[in-house]
Symmetry: C2
Subunit: 615 residues, 2 copies
């Protein structure tokens, strides 16, 4: 398009943004209007995208990091012929695909859910990494950011990662409209403040007037021709541009324009331009193929193996079998054992350094391109990426997260390194799967299995060695459990997972020898839980004692409840969990101090039996 | 100290670090050795600190952001005479104050728990802000960072905040030893890569050889005399400096030296230097005083008021009564209503922009200086700061967090803005208090109450208006609940909180009119829960139906279990919660679609009664 047409298209995007928000009675038209010219030029002259084939491997990828500017995105979809005007006006209404913030669950042209600021660029980095190092396809990634969101540290994790990886297939466009939600940003219209920061992180930067379509056009061209560096285009814009009543004014964030009809008239009235977006050249998906045969490691019963080791070995094996599996780690691959994968599949391994938000975002970006990522760090440090996991579930993203060094059982390093809240965090993620193996063969099987699931999958691994109690051919279906001790005379059931399974077995053996038979369930699938087995145990033994190396809230104790919240009779329940703040000590001392070792389980069971609390 | 003495002191700190780790059989001596000279010069010549009076308001504040280098910190404490050699050798043992990573819970000279990297600097920014804007005392904040942790985005949130606030009382010392845990860092010994980044964020920077004690001494002096900017001293160091077997070598992270005795000899053998650390000048705490009279807002029954509004008004009132209350917000103060406090107490209000990690860290830093912070953003976005909240609880920090816009009840903005996991996250925090008011008078009372509690306090507020159902003089003790409907004939009990209380009341009234009396409990104190009332309801009605605007995991449904995990009989349980992925719709449509509105509660109750699942 030429200058005049581009100006017209920008106005159309503004008009449609105003109309959509007016029809909804809510939304962010002013944040859309500032970026309308930036979007118009991209759509008309630079984006290569086949709206009829959103999965086309050659498509450029556009990410609206400032997700609240969704009216602009949907107006662009309309201009591209992807949606019609009628649908545009369903914005923010029940059942509409056009949500307040865009999500790929509803719209095929959306790469990732946004709306939590500072996440679009990190995910874009993941997509650009896929393009460079996995897909080997020359699509370009365009990310439109707001200026306010540059305050998020995750933006600078992304900037660091992209600069270091020389992602010249990535362009970020910063819509510097100088106004945040509640007032001016830190840097106002000081474009160089932003440019300086990006340059420090090894980016090429271009500062422009974001309402000068020719300047925008030149900047995009310059970004396309810049080699060896990502490009940041820092554009001076006005929030609410084009409508005097709101332009560059405070107090106009996140609400429809006061007089929408007049505003539309002031913008030159409705237009009906259609953009023929350039289709990409034909290209093919280049997912590497694997052997198809998963040769999982096999461990001998009785050996002492850490589940993190089994995870690492299994992941390497799954990576051999499946060419679509990739791994990312937060600079602790020697601890998580992700390094085992790195050694065998270096081309599919991504060192993310100590930047857990970027690590998870990169996984989401890779998953969006069809890869099956495993992202690993200490369970404790996955809390750093909680908001990214939350948004990933809104995206419907299929990613595997692995948290090592779970619980007090890590010992001397102390509470900062102990994952004690991870089960609560991961269970509350919509559609998640939460797995917690207690031995090496089980861990290996679960790794293979989780790779094939949907949604967010979480595996919790342990630092220390634990005895192999299952044979290598045993199967561990997700949603299942294992009954490890059982008799008709069981007085109660101990429900354990991971490290506490071994403590429960020791307690059960001691109690059994003393004439108090107890059942032991290995609840390796924490979500979903094995309702049938828990219900049978409840009926047959009357009391469930849960024991977990985790806080009492949101973990295994709460998970068993899932089997009993349909109004059926509930068994008696006793919960053993970590209720104090641990310090440094040996693993055995820690388990004892927390009251979750065999001795504690045994004592609890005896108390229940002797005080006749259980029959 | 002069050059020779400083060199000697540095060697002593190395020797003691090696000895402490050797005695423990674990720990991070090599990461301590790289920073030993930096620490020696600070301790001997620049730090003003009275180890006998750690609460002295004039004390400088030192934060070991690279918390794993705890052997260095403890060796410095020994050199300063704060601990003796015997205690030094208890490092990482059960019951020792000298944990793997330092925490203020155990040691009075530690400002904040570290060990999750990238957190010390953000907390240091909070302390420096206190010094400048609250304490008005001229203490200096020194933060020792590793180079690896500069990959964390939280570091750049902190850099941005400190630069923008001109915190010239803050100095960060970066120990650039070029080796992370599993190998080289991104930038190796390229000091300028780090300096460039800090400079872009408006810091003064100094690049030095971190083993040249005179250069270090000069750099500290330059930092002290730099006005209007924080200073970053970027120091080139060698990991394991001084012991050939480990110096500048990979694979030597986080483990005792292979031959500790030889290493000590190579370092010149044990020394016993004592440093007389300069005491600060006498100064006084300058906490502003309040009126002492909390004049909470009072709302009329029947009015429609959003609990977020009541929160904002109550916080302003509490701020008038208590001079030690401060507020921080993540650029959404107009939404959270923190702006009500800002208007009345601008000198105690901190705009943190969209940087939730830094916001919580600043709160932790201020709490360390005796202030009572309230940090506010959308409940959904508090997940961004999860790791900071986790570490705050390890610190034993007393901070108030307020999450607004909870649940699907926000309506059109969609799932990215809906806090649906916040209760799970906050309940699992050790020692936390979790409050969720359903009306304005209750919200106001809880705000006043939470200000006086210990530990992490969380208040969940709602976007939309809700009917005032309590009088302004009603009391709401933490750990309590309110029984809103009750009779001897109740067939079941609905346990609700926040927005679902009103839905439960409507359902109860409809059911009651139809001859099905049900009890309604307002569980405003989600943690701790009111065990006595829940137990009485269980005994008297036999079935608890929980209904919450939250995911089914970790929220109110799980919280009630806390009353029943001591082996006593458990009532029948039914849980209504948000089990699907919401889209955009009106608040009423959202509550209905999620199955947590009055109609859904009524239907569930009828089903239970009609199918005789409850008596």
């Amino acid at each position: 398009m030429n200058t005049g047409e581009l100006v017209d298209l920008g106005q159309q995007l503004r008009v449609d943004s105003v109309r959509a928000a007016a029809a909804a009675g809510s939304g962010h038209p002013t944040s859309s209007m500032s970026a309308a010219d930036l979007m118009a030029v991209l759509l008309a002259n630079h984006l290569r995208y086949d709206f009829g084939r959103p999965a086309h491997p050659g498509n450029d990828r556009f990410v609206l990091s400032k997700g609240h500017a969704s009216p602009l995105l949907y107006s662009a979809f309309k201009a591209a012929g992807a949606i019609d005007d009628e649908e545009l006006l369903t914005f923010r209404k029940l059942g509409s695909r056009l949500e307040g913030h865009p999500t790929p669950q509803r719209l095929p042209w959306v790469e990732t859910a946004t709306g939590s600021l500072g996440q679009g660029l990190p995910v874009g980095v993941g997509i650009a990494l896929s393009g460079k190092r996995l897909d080997h396809t020359d699509y370009r990634v365009w990310v439109l950011c707001g200026d306010s969101e540059l305050a998020e540290g995750s933006i600078w994790e992304a900037a660091e990662h992209a600069g270091h990886e020389h992602l010249d297939n990535l362009t970020v466009i910063v819509d510097v409209n100088r106004l945040g939600q509640r007032g001016p940003t830190r840097h106002g219209h000081d474009l160089d403040a932003y440019a300086r920061r990006f340059r420090a992180f090894e980016w090429h930067t271009i500062e422009i007037d974001g309402h000068d379509v020719d300047a925008i056009d030149r900047a995009y061209g310059e970004a396309l021709s810049t080699k060896g560096q990502p490009t940041a285009i820092i554009a001076r814009t006005l929030k609410g541009k084009g409508v005097k009543a709101v332009e560059d004014r405070e107090g106009q964030h996140g609400k429809p324009l006061p007089e929408a009809e007049e505003a539309v008239a002031e913008l030159g009235g409705p237009r009906d331009l259609t953009v023929r977006v350039h289709a990409p050249e034909d290209s093919r998906a280049l997912h590497s193929t694997g052997t198809g045969q998963t040769e999982l490691p096999r461990y001998d019963k009785g050996d002492e193996i850490a589940t993190r080791n089994a995870f690492g070995e299994a992941l390497a094996a799954v990576g051999t079998a499946r060419g679509d599996v990739v791994a990312l780690d937060g600079e602790v691959g020697d601890s998580t054992r992700a390094e085992f994968f790195a050694k065998e599949h270096p081309e599919r391994y991504f060192e993310c350094y100590i930047a857990e938000q970027q690590m998870v975002a990169a996984a989401v970006g890779m998953a969006a391109r069809g890869w099956v990522p495993f992202a690993t760090t200490f369970a404790a440090f996955l809390t750093r990426a909680h908001d990214f996991v939350r948004m990933a579930s809104i995206s419907g993203s299929g990613i595997n997260l692995v948290g090592s060094h779970a619980g007090v059982a890590i010992g001397q390093d102390g509470p900062s390194q102990m994952g004690l809240e991870d089960l609560a965090m991961m269970r509350a993620v919509h559609g998640s799967t939460v797995l917690y193996p207690c031995d090496a063969n089980q861990a290996a099987r679960l790794v293979a299995e989780m790779a094939g699931l949907e949604g967010i999958r979480y595996l919790r691994t342990s630092r220390g060695g634990s005895k192999v109690i299952y044979g290598p051919d045993e199967e561990f279906p997700v949603g299942g459990s294992k009954v490890l001790r059982s008799s008709d005379a069981d007085r109660l059931t101990v429900v354990a997972a991971g490290v506490t399974v071994h403590e429960a077995l020791a307690a059960a053996d001691a109690l059994g020898a003393d004439g108090i038979p107890v059942r032991v369930i290995d609840l390796y699938s924490v979500k979903p839980v094995d309702r049938a087995t828990l219900r049978a145990a409840a009926e047959e033994t009357g009391c469930l004692v849960t024991v977990e190396d985790h806080r009492p809230e949101g973990g295994i104790g709460d998970a068993v409840l899932d089997a009993f919240t349909d109004g059926r009779p509930v068994p008696r329940l006793v919960r053993l969990a970590v209720t104090t703040m641990p310090g440094s000590a040996t693993p055995a001392e820690e388990l004892h101090a927390a009251g979750i070792d065999a001795e504690s389980i045994e004592a609890a069971a005896r108390m229940l039996v002797e005080q006749a609390i259980v029959p």
